[in-house]
C-alpha cells in the first residue's frame, strides 16, 4: 500500500435505530488527491463525514489513519492525529476575531492546560500557525475583524482557515461551497487546488460543475450506500449514476397529477 493513502474506511456503517444512514461504505483518501462524495439529499454524506471525523462512532466497520485503527478514537484525538474538518453549517467563534478563531484552533497542538500564568498569545507556535492559515485561506486583511461580522463567503473561508490552523493532513470538507457566489466559488476552488499537493481531501459538495472540475475521484452515494466510485469521466457515463440522478428529477413529475 503506498504511503500516500492517509485515510481508509472499510465497510463503515452507521445506524440510527432502524435507519441505516451509512451502509457499508469503503473508500480511501490519498495525499495529493481530491476525493469527492456526491449524492442526493439524505444520502448519508454528512453522516459519513461525521463518522470519519469521529464526531459519531461507526456502528460497524473500520477507519484507519495512516495504518492505525482509529475506529474507537474520540474526535479530539483524531483531530490531533491529523484529521481536520469543516462544517456544512458555519461553525466558528462568532464573537472573537478572525485571528483568535484560528489561534485557538492552532492551540489544540500546544494546549498546556496547566500553564495558568503565561498569556495565550505568547505561544508563538500557535500564533504562527494562525497567521499562515489566515494567509492561506485568503483572509489576510480580515485578521482583526470580529468573525460574526464577516460576509457569508468570508465565514466559509474562515471555516477552512480554522481547519488549516490545526495543521491537518486529511481535510474533510462538508459543502464548503454552499451558498457561495460565482467569484467566491472560484476563490475556494483555487484554494482547494493549492491545498491538494500536501493534503488528502474529502469533498462533499452539491455543486456538480465544481466537483467535476476539481475531483480526481468521485464516489456516489444513494440511501447510505456507494453505488459507484471512480474517475470523473467514468462516473459521468455510469448508467446507475444517471438513473439515480435522473430518477430524482422524474419522481416529482410523476407525483404531480395526484
Amino acid at each position: 500500500m503506498p504511503d500516500d493513502v492517509l485515510l481508509t474506511a472499510t465497510n463503515v456503517s452507521r445506524r440510527f435505530g432502524g435507519l441505516t444512514a451509512v451502509d457499508r461504505v469503503s473508500l480511501t483518501l490519498e495525499r495529493g488527491e481530491v476525493h469527492s462524495v456526491i449524492g442526493t439529499n439524505g444520502a448519508g454524506k454528512s453522516t459519513l463525514v461525521n463518522v470519519l471525523a469521529g464526531e459519531i462512532t461507526a456502528s460497524s466497520g473500520r477507519v484507519e489513519l495512516q495504518g492505525r485503527d482509529v475506529t474507537r478514537w474520540p474526535q479530539p484525538r483524531r483531530a490531533r492525529a491529523g484529521i481536520g474538518r469543516s462544517y456544512q453549517r458555519t461553525t466558528i467563534f462568532p464573537r472573537s476575531t478572525v485571528f483568535e478563531n484560528c489561534r485557538l484552533s492552532a492551540q489544540a497542538h500546544y494546549q498546556q492546560a496547566l500553564d495558568w500564568w503565561n498569556p495565550a498569545t505568547a505561544c508563538t507556535k500557535s500564533t504562527q500557525l494562525a497567521h499562515q492559515a489566515i494567509e492561506h485561506a485568503g483572509l489576510t486583511g480580515q485578521a482583526h475583524r470580529i468573525a460574526g461580522t464577516l460576509s457569508h463567503g468570508q465565514k466559509r473561508q474562515l471555516e477552512i482557515a480554522m481547519c488549516l490552523a490545526t495543521a491537518p493532513q486529511v481535510l474533510l470538507l462538508d459543502e464548503p461551497l454552499a451558498g457561495m457566489g460565482a467569484e467566491e466559488t472560484e476563490r475556494m476552488l483555487a484554494l482547494l487546488a493549492a491545498l491538494k499537493p500536501g493534503h488528502a481531501i474529502l469533498l462533499v459538495e452539491h455543486d456538480m460543475d465544481a466537483v467535476f472540475r476539481i475531483a480526481d475521484r468521485i464516489t456516489v452515494m444513494v440511501n447510505g450506500a456507494v453505488i459507484a466510485s471512480g474517475a470523473p469521466d467514468a462516473i459521468r457515463n455510469n448508467a446507475d449514476v444517471q438513473t439515480a440522478y435522473l430518477g430524482e428529477i422524474e419522481r416529482p413529475a410523476e407525483a404531480a397529477p395526484s
Partner: protein, 330 residues
C-alpha cells in the same frame, strides 16, 4: 495599548485602595458589612469562572461554599486556635474532592439538565448536613476558636481580630481576582472561552473538552471553598441554610446584576446585592415593612435585569449604543 492597560488597571488599584482605607473611616457595623461583601465577592468570582468563562450555569454552587464552611467548623478544635496553614489547605482539598465527584457526574449532562443535576447534588449536600447528628442538624454548629497564622512564637495573622481578618480577606480577594485574571489570559482560559462559544468546534480542533470543564468545575469549587472558609470563621457559626438552593440562586443573581462574563462584574454584583439586601432589611428606613425585605429586593432585581441586560458593567457601552443617533427614526 498603554491606554487600555491603564484603563483596566487604574480602577482596580483605586478599588483596592478604597477597600484598604475603609476600616479606618467606616463604623464597626459598616466594616463588618464590607467584610461580608468581600467574602461574597470571592464566592461570586468563583462562579464567574464557570458561568461567565466556560458557559456552565451551575445552580448548585452553594454546595462548595457550604461544604467548606462545615469542614472548617468541624475540624476546628474546641479550645486551641488551629493554624491556617493546615486548616485552609485541608478545607480546600476536601471541597475540591467534592467538586471533582459532583463535577465528574454532572458534566455528563448539558444545558438545562446540567442546571438541574447541579441543583440536585447541592440539595443532597444540604440534606446530608441537615440530617446528620455530627453536623448539628438544622441547628448548625458553632466554631469556638478562630484560626491563626503563626510562625514559631510570633502570631502573624489572628482571625479573631476584626481588622486583621478584614485585611486577610481583602488579600484573599485580590489573590483570587489575580488568579482568575491570569487564567483569563492563559491558554487554559482561552480554551474555556472557546468551549462556551462553540464546544463542537473545540472538539473538532482537537480539544478534549470534558477534562477542561472538569478542571474549571473543580477550581471554581475550591475557590468557593475559600469564601466558605472565611464565612464560617467570620460568623463562628454554620447551619444548613448556607448550602440551600437560595444561596446558589443568590450568587447567580450577583453575577447577573454585575454583568456575566466579567470579573469586575462579579465583584460589583456581590457588593450591590449585599448593600441592597441590607438597605431593604433596615428598620430605620422602612420601619415594619423591613421584615418584607424580599419583596422590594426582588422587584429591584427584576428592574435591574430588565433595564440593564448586561449588568452594571455593561451599562456604559449600553448607554453609548442608545446615544448613537438613528437617522430614520419614525
Amino acid at each position: 495599548m498603554a491606554d487600555s492597560f491603564a484603563a483596566r488597571v487604574v480602577p482596580l488599584v483605586v478599588a483596592c485602595a478604597l477597600l484598604a482605607a475603609f476600616p479606618f473611616v467606616g463604623g464597626k457595623f459598616y466594616v463588618d458589612l464590607m467584610l461580608t461583601t468581600m467574602i461574597f465577592a470571592i464566592f461570586a468570582l468563583s462562579l464567574e469562572l464557570l458561568v461567565g468563562r466556560t458557559g456552565l450555569v451551575s445552580f448548585g454552587h452553594a454546595a462548595f461554599f457550604g461544604i467548606a464552611a462545615y469542614v472548617t467548623a468541624l475540624l476546628s478544635p474546641q479550645s486551641e486556635s488551629p493554624s491556617v496553614l493546615w486548616l485552609l489547605p485541608v478545607v480546600l482539598v476536601v471541597t475540591a474532592l467534592a467538586a471533582l465527584a459532583i463535577g465528574a457526574l454532572s458534566l455528563r449532562t448539558r444545558g438545562i439538565y446540567f442546571i438541574m443535576v447541579t441543583l440536585a447534588f447541592a440539595q443532597m449536600a444540604y440534606f446530608v448536613f441537615h440530617d446528620m447528628k455530627f453536623a448539628g442538624g438544622s441547628d448548625g454548629r458553632y466554631l469556638y476558636v478562630k484560626p491563626v497564622l503563626a510562625l514559631g512564637p510570633y502570631t502573624l495573622v489572628d482571625f479573631d481580630r476584626p481588622l486583621t481578618f478584614y485585611f486577610a480577606t481583602l488579600a484573599l480577594l485580590v489573590l483570587v481576582y489575580a488568579l482568575l485574571a491570569a487564567i483569563g489570559r492563559s491558554r487554559f482560559g482561552h480554551a474555556l472561552s472557546g468551549i462556551k462559544a462553540n464546544e463542537q468546534r473545540m472538539r473538532a480542533a482537537g480539544f478534549s473538552t470534558y477534562p477542561y470543564k472538569l478542571a474549571a468545575f473543580v477550581l471554581a469549587g475550591a475557590l468557593a471553598g475559600v469564601a466558605g472558609f472565611l464565612y464560617a470563621v467570620k460568623d463562628g457559626y454554620v447551619n444548613p441554610e448556607i448550602l440551600a438552593w437560595h444561596q446558589s440562586g443568590t450568587v447567580l443573581l450577583m453575577l447577573i446584576l454585575g454583568g456575566i462574563g466579567s470579573l469586575r462584574g462579579a465583584v460589583v454584583g456581590a457588593f450591590l446585592f449585599v448593600v441592597l439586601k441590607e438597605l431593604f432589611q433596615s428598620e430605620a428606613l422602612f420601619g415594619g415593612f423591613a421584615k418584607h425585605w424580599q419583596l422590594p429586593l426582588g422587584l429591584t432585581i427584576i428592574a435591574c435585569v430588565a433595564l440593564m441586560p448586561n449588568g452594571i458593567i455593561g451599562l456604559p457601552s449600553q448607554l453609548r449604543r442608545t446615544r448613537v443617533p438613528v437617522p430614520h427614526a419614525g
